[in-house]
Amino acid sequence: MSGVGTLELSGIHAGYGDFQALFGVDLRVEPGEAVGVVGPNGAGKTTLLRVISGLIRASAGTLRFGGADLAAVPAHELPVLGIAHVPENRRLFPQLTVEENLKVGAYIKSARARFQERRDHVFELFPRLKQRRHQLAGTMSGGEQQMCAIGRALMSGPRILLLDEPSAGLAPLVVQQVFDLVRRIRQEGLTVLIVEQNVAQVLRVVDRAYVLETGRVAAEGASAALAADPAIRRSYLGGALSAWIPSCWRPC
């Protein structure tokens, strides 16, 4: 049986209208674990997170968190159960200040009472946000916005944090900072499920990872093992060189 905060997906099928993006995905995240989902563009990674946070419904399969079936739970009640989702492209409220963004993150009843305590904690984690607390979120740099988005998700006091492409659209140096953030959050003992295209970086942060290809799990295992797998290395960790070579010229 699953433990207190285990996230469990089995045989998940999902898509948008006639377009199916996921074909029977099984995935498991134990409490305290950090798990990565990697794969090429269009593999269904974002869809997977959207299914977990209820933004789209699975057409088949079961989704459980802490033993409870999530099929009938509306999306806005998932934060109450302890699931927080940092969406793709951060999706901050640009016209609201940093502190107001955090306030929206603390919307649920249980979080309101502990707003100040958690806000101070987020400011401790990300001192930059404290400096910018009265600045409009839309006027900050990409890295700062990512901090704010993660901070906003932490405000609800989640048990599991879902991160969708936290490094997307950021400069290499900032990507490094963002993964440092993820490490710091892990030290808090929070469970993390992170979706990334930046495979090399993410495998250094997580304990285990799943490789998603065209909506199916193609491989899974401990990050060290995956990083050492020749097939994975060839497809995803080819380093700088493969990025320069058109795919048709790459050896297969």
Partner: protein, 284 residues
């Protein structure tokens, strides 16, 4: 400065305060629900009748009639959302606007059936107040102060409460709200009720200045929409400022020409703004 011109400017500011409330209400609903309530001025009209009826017919004290009007119109706003807007949330915007246009007819028709087309007057008038060389209607001044108070309460609600902050957030990004634990439908209901309450407050302030009849909404409804759009749809502060601008145009225009023509000037100004700055005068 010519004291009469000064008086016109002052009256323009007072008029702007009266326009401001329905503009804020419309903006609130549009910003949150993304639907234009074409019947907004008719909600105000119903509120005016409620105050008139309770005060002059049922003999209630004015304050009690006012206090009843606000929640009554808030409930009307809720019903409007639940019965008309909600089934059309996924429909094209035009269908939504036309449906609320249908409600406009319903409310006008209902008012005509119940109260006939007679002009009804509350018969309350405060003595004019002398400010230096100019006289200002006491009623208008009181209404103005009340409108500002209403706007301030709305501002505080949006600024300091969790729900208010969520309302400002949802106006920018609806899809992400459930991730914050926000139920958009609940926010829609709250915004609709608040929009209705603002219409109710506007009704209290208008009924002391204007006679009420079933078509009174048509006299200030169109200009309310225009102010709203001029300030930038969903932009509260912009709408608030635009209300004063339009108030001034109408009032000062009335000083130089006649009142009818000043409305023509105001509407032409609106069309011009749409051509030059469709995103709104006060949008950055």
């Amino acid at each position: 400065m010519d004291p009469f011109l000064l008086e016109a400017v002052l009256n323009g500011v007072l008029l702007g305060g009266v326009f401001a409330l329905p503009v804020l209400g419309l903006n609130l609903v549009f910003g949150v629900v993304d639907v234009i309530w074409l019947c907004y001025a008719e909600l105000v009209m119903v509120g005016m009748y409620i105050v008139w009826f309770l005060h002059t017919q049922a003999g209630w004290p004015l304050a009690l009639a006012f206090a009843t009007c606000l929640p009554a119109i808030a409930v009307l706003g809720l019903l409007l959302h639940l019965l008309v807007v909600r089934p059309l949330l996924a429909a094209p915007p035009i269908n939504q606007v036309l449906a609320t246009g249908g409600v406009l007819f319903v409310l006008q028709g209902a008012a005509t059936l119940v109260f006939s087309t007679d002009f009804r007057s509350l018969g309350v008038e405060m003595p004019p107040i002398e400010l230096g060389e100019v006289f200002v209607s006491g009623t208008k001044l009181a209404a103005f102060v009340a409108a500002l108070l209403g706007a301030a309460v709305l501002w505080a609600f949006l600024k300091f409460t969790y729900v208010g902050t969520a309302i400002r957030a949802i106006a920018r990004d609806r899809e992400v709200m459930p991730l914050m634990g926000v139920d958009p439908h609940r926010i829609y209901l709250i915004a609709s009720a608040a929009g209705g309450a603002l219409a109710g407050l506007a009704a209290c302030l208008l009924v002391v200045q204007l006679d009420v009849h079933p078509f009174v909404g048509l006299s200030f409804g169109p200009i309310t929409f225009m102010i709203c759009v001029m300030g930038g749809l969903g932009n509260m502060l912009g709408g608030f400022l635009a209300a004063f601008l339009m108030g001034l145009i109408v009032s000062v225009g009335g000083f130089y020409g006649d009142t009818d023509m000043s409305y023509v000037v105001a509407f032409l100004f609106f069309i011009l703004v749409m051509f030059i700055r469709p995103q709104g005068l006060f949008t950055r």
